[in-house]
């Protein structure tokens, strides 16, 4: 593209301003978490401290809620990855007549808000006595994130050449062996992408555990964050921000680790070609 120098400068300036606006609200979190006297606005810490972080990691109740979040997110992501691989295979390899309408339905379900089904799910959990059952909560979230995972997994599988599989079949491999021995290894980036997408969504989910889990001891990290709000509107800013940083770190880290594989997750141009 031919861009003049002035125009290039304007582009860069706009982008830098946007980036600052995006990062500004977050800086408060980082700075307050290492400040001995944190307040509600951004300020450079007068005295640097790790005390806020120590307070978090030495609190067994908080560690427990992080462990529960880990369990929910890992459980959900594991189920989603396995089921999505199995479901994506025929969508990528066979030509079922109902494939196109199915993919459109999947695309639609993908972003159907969880909040629209949470009340009936709550009622269903009451009826079936699934209440407070972490595995049931994980399975519900798996169901909700499955459509996008299938969509993504199919995109990745489409780029694995069918010839490789065919030669495995000639050597006597079954379809299932073909998936396990040929496709899965070639799809490691795709599998990680689906895993990380699912994990990130689950890790940050507040609504589902907030509604479906009753016992305080079973609450994941997204809900226990409320403990920093004392009575009479007093907020422990140091604790809140240190907790927020620790709670955000795993997903931020995972995302940037896997970012270079992730462009397929945002490739919707081919959606129409089916």
């Amino acid at each position: 593209m031919r861009i003049g120098k002035v125009e290039k400068f304007i582009h860069h300036t706009i982008l830098v301003v946007i980036a600052i606006l995006f990062i500004l609200p977050l800086l408060w979190m980082l700075f307050s978490s290492v400040d001995t006297t944190p307040i509600q606005s951004l300020k450079i810490p007068e005295q640097f401290t790790f005390q806020n972080y120590l307070g978090i990691i030495q609190n067994p109740a908080i560690i427990r809620s992080f462990a529960i979040s880990l369990f929910l997110s890992f459980g959900q992501s594991f189920v989603v990855v396995i089921v999505a691989i199995i479901a994506a295979y025929p969508l990528s390899r066979y030509n079922a007549t109902y494939e196109k309408p199915f993919m459109y339905t999947i695309l639609f379900l993908t972003s159907l808000p969880m909040s629209a089904v949470i009340v009936p799910v709550f009622q269903m959990f009451l009826l079936l006595n699934f209440h407070d059952q972490l595995w049931a909560v994980a399975l519900f979230m798996a169901g909700a994130s499955l459509p996008y995972a299938i969509w993504l997994m199919k995109n990745f599988m489409d780029s694995v050449p069918v010839e490789l599989e065919e030669s495995a079949w000639i050597d006597g491999a079954s379809v299932w062996q073909g998936i396990k021995k040929v496709i899965a290894p070639l799809m490691v980036p795709g599998i990680f992408t689906v895993f990380i997408f699912t994990f990130t969504g689950s890790w940050g989910n507040f609504l589902v555990p907030f509604i479906l889990i009753q016992t305080p001891e079973n609450m994941p990290a997204s809900v226990t964050i409320y403990q920093f709000f004392g009575n009479y509107g007093l907020i422990d800013f140091g604790g809140l921000t240190a907790y927020s940083v620790l709670y955000s770190l795993p997903v931020v880290f995972l995302y940037f680790l896997a970012q270079r594989y992730m462009s397929k997750g945002f490739s919707f141009g081919g959606a129409t070609k089916g």
């Binding site: 860069h12 982008l15 830098v16 946007i18 980036a19 995006f22 990062i23 500004l24 609200p25 977050l26 408060w28 979190m29 509600q40 606005s41 189920v79 089921v83 199995i86 295979y89 025929p90 079922a96 007549t97 459109y104 695309l107 639609f108 379900l109 972003s111 159907l112 808000p113 909040s115 629209a116 089904v117 949470i118 009340v119 009936p120 799910v121 009622q123 269903m124 519900f140 169901g143 909700a144 499955l146 299938i150 990130t200 890790w203 989910n205 507040f206 990290a221 997204s222 964050i225 709670y247 955000s248 997903v251 931020v252 462009s263 490739s267 919707f268 141009g269 081919g270 959606a271 129409t272």
Partner: protein, 298 residues
């Protein structure tokens, strides 16, 4: 004849094989997603309540919930608030800002792109509740924005969440969701070959002509899909609004998900809460239907 029968057989076997592979996914989707959606319709015809005499026996009350809905001014207000929120933060805000960033980033230095990307994407990757608290603090009387504003001019701090609650949640949601649109558009824009744009320049197209007649048409599919995903996910936003304003002050930010939560779990009217869920689902279906039609036209 023989060949046609062969291919028919093949299609049939493809259909069956596909169905077998899809079974585990369908079971999970059915139990944890599709049945609840069916229950949404069923329960919205009941007087289901969480506590009290009604909790003991569920009764079908016919269209009572819907009659109540038609007379519920708050519901109309919530639908309006939801539409304002979805259109301004999702359709207009996230899509256009995401497109702008992706467009400006095209062809720039990789390290520069990465730096900008990290700033925008972090807002999207962090847990929603953390994002919400960050904005509560940012917009508070003694928060960062007011500190900056008062240091620039001699003005009194503004209680953004009380004076401009809808604008506050809209801005916070744009901040939160722009990354997704940006990433989708980046992927699409990177796929456009340089030759096409160069050729347009050769033919004397101006910069804006190029954007409107070459770039945007080429990423039309992406725009449509992103529009649908953004709209539907904005429609369901609960955590951000609930944490920032809890629907208030008054009912200024009482969008449908927040109103549904309030009816179902604060007023314990599960039946009516479910009926509100149905409104969300219907709105989602309308949006989805319209966009899917648009996609097919493409």
């Amino acid at each position: 004849m023989e060949a046609a029968r062969e291919s028919n057989k093949r299609i049939l076997s493809d259909n069956i094989k596909t169905a077998i592979f899809l079974t585990p996914a369908l079971i999970i989707l059915l139990i944890f997603f599709l049945i609840p959606m069916g229950l949404t319709i069923l329960f919205s015809f009941t007087n289901l309540a969480l506590t009290g005499a009604q909790a003991q026996q569920i009764e079908f009350v016919g269209f009572d919930n819907f009659v109540r809905m038609f007379n519920d001014n708050q519901l109309y207000d919530s639908i309006l608030k939801t539409l304002i929120f979805v259109v301004s933060s999702g359709v207009i805000g996230q899509i256009s800002l995401g497109f702008l960033i992706a467009f400006l980033m095209k062809g720039k230095n990789a390290i520069f792109r990465r730096f900008i990307g990290i700033c925008v994407i972090t807002a999207w990757v962090i847990p929603e509740i953390v994002a919400a608290f960050t904005w509560v603090a940012f917009l508070a009387d003694s928060g960062t924005l007011n500190v900056i504003a008062t240091s620039l001019g001699n003005i009194r701090p503004i209680a953004f969440l009380f004076q401009y609650p809808m604008i506050s949640v809209v801005v916070a949601n744009i901040w939160r969701g722009t990354a997704f649109c940006m990433l989708a558009f980046q992927t699409a824009l990177d796929d456009i070959s340089k030759e096409v744009e160069e050729a347009a320049y050769m033919d004397g197209a101006s910069r804006f002509q190029n954007i409107f007649y070459i770039t945007i048409p080429m990423v039309k599919g992406t725009i449509a899909t992103t529009l649908m995903l953004t709209t539907l996910s904005t429609l369901g936003v609960f955590t951000l609004i609930y944490t920032m304003t809890a629907g208030g002050p008054g009912n200024a930010t009482m969008t449908l998900p927040v109103y549904m939560y309030q009816q179902a779990f604060v007023s314990y009217q599960l039946g009516y809460g479910t009926a509100i869920s149905l409104v969300i689902l219907i709105l989602g279906a309308i949006f989805g239907f319209v966009y899917t039609k648009l996609l097919k036209v493409d």
